[in-house]
């Protein structure tokens, strides 16, 4: 039998949907017993949410004041200690999981498989490399713990009709004090979260200023969409870093992705390959974004944006 430990992600009393996606990936492992581990200082609310995830047998909670903030140096030794007896340890390929999981792997003395996009067997997985221009099939060695991150854009969240047991775990690990949390700036506003939104409106360098970039927000609000940006737009200071979509930013899979003034560098396309419908609006008809767009429109952004916003509102 395979035993999978999913490292849960949460903030402010809410379980991140990345955990439900990791459980779906874990369910693809043949004959898998799945547990979720949560670390934090107050876990009562999130433990209940994790216990409801379909396919999960047990939720392990490690509640202590040192776990108030998700510091990899503090979490990793606890997860490594709990990994004993598990064949697989999975975390999400969010910044939380990317920060934490390699540290867990090294403590266990094993390699890590990054960004699982498909499970072929208990030890064989598919993952993207070279900005998703190449897909590898990789095999983990037999008899060693498989530590991996799960590419969240490749998996749907598991259902929420489960009834797992919740168990407080005691961990015998020395925790370092050489890393200290200072502060975090939360994304502002009540727009949908970019990583999980069904619709995303994204802007590129052609927006030409932070002021113009705000025009995008009107369209996004009309659509109930999250806002994204190309690297060029973020580098130019038109949009904050957490909006960046692409190889080195967020990899997303919305139902609808509208790219405005984005030329479509390979590194950007990596981030949107799994979107169901891609719409491209660009003044350059030769832009590479049109090669992957399901619907393309060549024209002036600034003329089309207000018209599109109105048309969307009228179409409701």
């Amino acid at each position: 039998m395979n035993k999978v430990l999913v490292v849960g992600e949460h903030a402010q009393g809410k379980l991140n949907v990345s955990t439900a996606k990791c459980v779906t990936c874990a369910k693809a492992i043949p004959d898998a017993h799945i547990d979720v581990v949560l670390l934090g200082s107050d876990l009562s609310a999130v433990a209940a949410q994790a216990a409801a995830l379909e396919g999960v047998q047990k939720v392990l909670t490690v509640q202590r004041p040192e776990n108030a903030e998700p510091l990899a140096a503090v979490f990793a030794p606890q997860i490594a200690a709990l990994a004993k007896g598990y064949t697989h340890v999975f975390g999400p390929s969010t910044t939380y999981g990317k920060d934490l999981m390699p540290r867990v792997a090294a403590l266990l003395g094993v390699g890590q498989i990054s960004d699982i996009m498909a499970v072929e067997s208990a030890t064989k997985f598919r993952r993207p490399v070279y900005a998703s221009n190449v897909i590898l099939t990789v095999e983990a060695p037999a008899g060693k713990t498989v530590v991996a991150t799960v590419r969240t854009a490749s998996f749907q969240p598991t259902g929420s009709g489960g009834k797992a047991t919740i168990e407080a775990a005691s961990v015998n690990a020395t925790l370092p004090s050489y890393t200290r949390f200072v502060s975090r700036s939360q994304a502002s506003g009540d727009r949908p979260d970019l990583q999980t939104a069904a619709r995303v409106v994204s802007g590129g360098r052609a927006l030409a200023s932070a002021e113009n970039f705000k025009l995008l927000y009107k369209l996004a609000d009309a659509l109930g969409a999250a806002v994204g940006a190309s690297r060029a737009a973020v580098d130019a200071g038109y949009a904050p870093n957490e909006l960046q979509v692409g190889q080195t930013g967020k990899i997303i899979a919305p139902e609808l992705y509208i790219a405005l003034g984005i030329s479509g560098a390979i590194q950007h396309l990596t981030g949107i390959k799994d979107a169901r419908t891609i719409v491209a609006i660009n003044k350059d008809g030769e832009a590479p974004i049109f090669e992957v767009a399901d619907v393309g429109l060549v024209g002036d952004l600034f003329a089309l944006l207000p018209e599109l916003e109105q048309a969307v509102r009228a179409a409701k």
Binding site: A76, D99, S114, P141, Y178, A311
Partner: protein, 252 residues
């Protein structure tokens, strides 16, 4: 010189190259393909140089693990301003765990205040080495850094995380992994390229360092494939046509 900084420099296919899988599925086409320093590693080196220019560090040591040809990327690193370079020459690429063990050996040898690595290499997109090194070295890690301030024996690091920006404080020595907005790397000038030729570039091996690549993670690549391509869709001429197309696809 005390207080050195070690920087990782990986030789990768240039970011502008459209990478193709070999017909036999055993790798990617590298013949005649432009090779460069991994962009995140250039940022790592630039940050180390800026710290040194503020008189907050001694030597900047650029380290690459790669084939003999990686000397080209190390020469570029020297031209940018690194004081010396070390090539750990390998015939086959090493995995992240082995790379982390190499950096651990070098950290133990040079006692740096910082090891700065890229957050990921744009070839294998693994994003593991910095965190693994920090674990093996039992030191703090500050990944995805977009701002780094040194203050005595500590560093304040701003990190690019999914919800926005996070700031942490770490004791030194520490491992930093760089994100895109940490800095903009300088251009290399011709006289610097000439000067770089006289700077030391030592070549060593895994066995010299006492690292066994066979004891790495052991994850094998079975197959390289091109991804399923998205096909080109329809072009529309007006906003009403666009709205109609979206309705037809059931997304509006």
């Amino acid at each position: 010189m005390s207080n050195p900084i070690i920087v990782g420099i990986k030789r990768v296919i240039d970011y502008s190259v459209r990478v193709r899988v070999k017909p036999d599925g055993n790798g990617v086409v590298t013949d005649g393909v432009k090779m460069s320093i991994n962009p995140f590693d250039e940022i790592a080196l630039e940050e180390a140089l800026r710290i040194k220019e503020r008189n907050q560090a001694g030597e900047v040591i650029a380290v690459s693990i790669g084939p003999s040809d990686a000397q080209q990327q190390l020469r570029t690193a020297l031209a940018m301003g690194a004081d010396r370079a070390v090539l750990v020459q390998v015939e086959q690429p090493v995995d992240s765990l082995t790379a982390a063990r190499v950096f651990l050996k070098l950290a133990q040898k040079h006692s740096p205040q910082l090891v700065i690595l890229g957050k990921q290499a744009i070839d294998d997109d693994n994003g593991q080495t910095a965190q693994m090194l920090a674990a093996l070295w039992d030191r703090p890690q500050a990944t995805f850094a977009s701002k780094l301030e040194l203050d005595g024996g500590k560093a304040k690091v701003t990190r690019e995380v999914d919800v926005g920006l996070e700031t942490i404080e770490v004791d030194l020595p520490a491992v930093i992994s760089t994100d895109l907005r940490l800095n903009e790397p300088r251009y290399v000038k011709l006289p610097d390229i000439m000067k770089a030729k006289k700077k030391p570039l030592d070549v060593t091996t895994l066995s010299d360092l006492g690292v066994d690549a066979a004891a790495g993670g052991g994850i094998r690549t079975l197959k390289f494939e091109a991804p399923a391509a998205r096909s080109r869709g329809v072009m529309v001429k007006t906003v009403p046509e666009l709205i109609a197309a979206l309705k037809q696809r059931g997304v509006l």
